[in-house]
Symmetry: C2
Subunit: 245 residues, 2 copies
């Protein structure tokens, strides 16, 4: 069996997230069906870097799959894209060692949360950005989030803590940038807790609109209490950008 590593983009608007759930249209099941239709393998199982929730998009999700097919990588990408619906596109495929596991071998992931902060929201961004109808101070948000960098207990940003063995994670990159009428909140870490980026975005929103002082981010981290952080920002603004192995 060959072990293949794929990179995939998907627009999650019309999916119920990644993970297969009976009765719902999911990214995982849609890819597995297309894969099986091409390789004629009865049971294809794909293993991703970490599932994304309903409404959360991807431009750089990675998964691996074991297959007996002898179709070459480039040809397989073409064949899969011709079978896949318009809201999923495989962008890369390569053969990897037998031991490669897209989930447990992921070293870092970069997520981007997009905010469209105009008084008059852009109708074309409604599924791709949080439309706040308020103008936010991007520089203030950028400064306030610098304390997120490094190794911390991030349970303050975890929905339904505890979900995992530990809520300690290391954030290696954090930046808020403005591009015209949109803000990008970029967060790269060795792993994420449930809804962590969306809770960070909601907290930055409160700081960006002036409701909380810039220093409040440290208070949230120190408080270790989800109740004192901001709201969970809506899913449509969140994109998985890159997985590093």
């Amino acid at each position: 069996m060959r072990n293949l590593k794929f990179t995939v983009r998907y627009n999650n608007t019309d999916f119920s997230g990644w993970q297969t759930q009976p009765g719902y249209r999911t990214v995982q099941e849609t890819i597995e069906k297309a894969f099986g239709a091409i390789t004629l393998e009865a049971r294809v199982r794909i293993n991703c870097s970490g599932r994304t929730d309903a409404g959360v998009h991807s431009v750089g999700q990675v998964f691996n799959a074991f297959t007996a097919t002898q179709i070459g990588a480039a040809k397989l990408v073409k064949a899969l894209n011709s079978k896949l619906p318009e809201d999923i596109a495989i962008t890369a495929c390569e053969e990897v060692s037998q031991s490669f596991d897209a989930n447990s071998d992921a070293v870092r992931k970069l997520y981007r949360y997009v905010i469209n902060d105009t008084h008059i929201p852009d109708p074309f961004l409604r599924k791709y950005a949080w439309q706040t109808r308020r103008i936010l101070d991007a520089a203030r948000m950028h400064r306030s989030g610098q304390v997120l960098l490094g190794r911390h207990d991030f349970r303050c940003f975890e929905t339904n803590y505890p979900n995992r063995l530990t809520s300690i994670r290391t954030i290696t990159h954090f930046a808020v940038s403005r591009f015209g009428e949109c803000l990008w909140i970029d967060v790269e870490a060795d792993g994420f807790l449930y809804n962590m980026v969306r809770a960070i975005a909601g907290t930055l929103y409160q700081i960006g609109r002036g409701y909380w002082p810039e220093e409040y981010m440290q208070t949230v981290i120190d408080g270790m209490d989800r109740g004192i952080a901001g709201p969970t920002a809506p899913p449509g603004g969140l994109f998985l950008i890159r997985v590093t192995y």
Copy 2:
């Protein structure tokens, strides 16, 4: 009664076009309902520069409406946007003379047709661009379309000719530009025939992929026959950008 002129953006993905049709969600009816809810007028009728078909978007559609309300223009924009769904946004409002008619006073309209011409289509553009899965030669398309400029009989690009009194129109601006993985086909004219921009886009596609020679555009115009032009490009790539009065 005041006569108000509005500019409106809409994402037509989830609408059945502009014009009210019983049993369908249309842009016109949605705006009229919001308007009536704010001004408390029983019968509001809005009059646009020209209806757009199902799937065709707008960033600069214009309409006018007569109203007895005394609410100021800026406040009315805010009130309307708070009532309107996320896929419609009023961007401007001003009081105009009693004689202004958004439809018959329109002097020129600029339409933009967007093509995403990568081998691997972008899942986020699927409702906003024609995804050709072929790379097109933008410079060749730009050159071939120069013969469209000026006053011509454009029945070769009209679906179900004849729909209007005359199929003679004047194109005042034509350009094809590349922006990364997208092409913009900009066409400005004193008026458009049914599906005219989409038929021009379909013809340019055949030229851009090398199926027809660059000079074929002149043959199409001279032929005065819809059958020899290219296919009608899908509606989602088309945007009404600007109406000039």
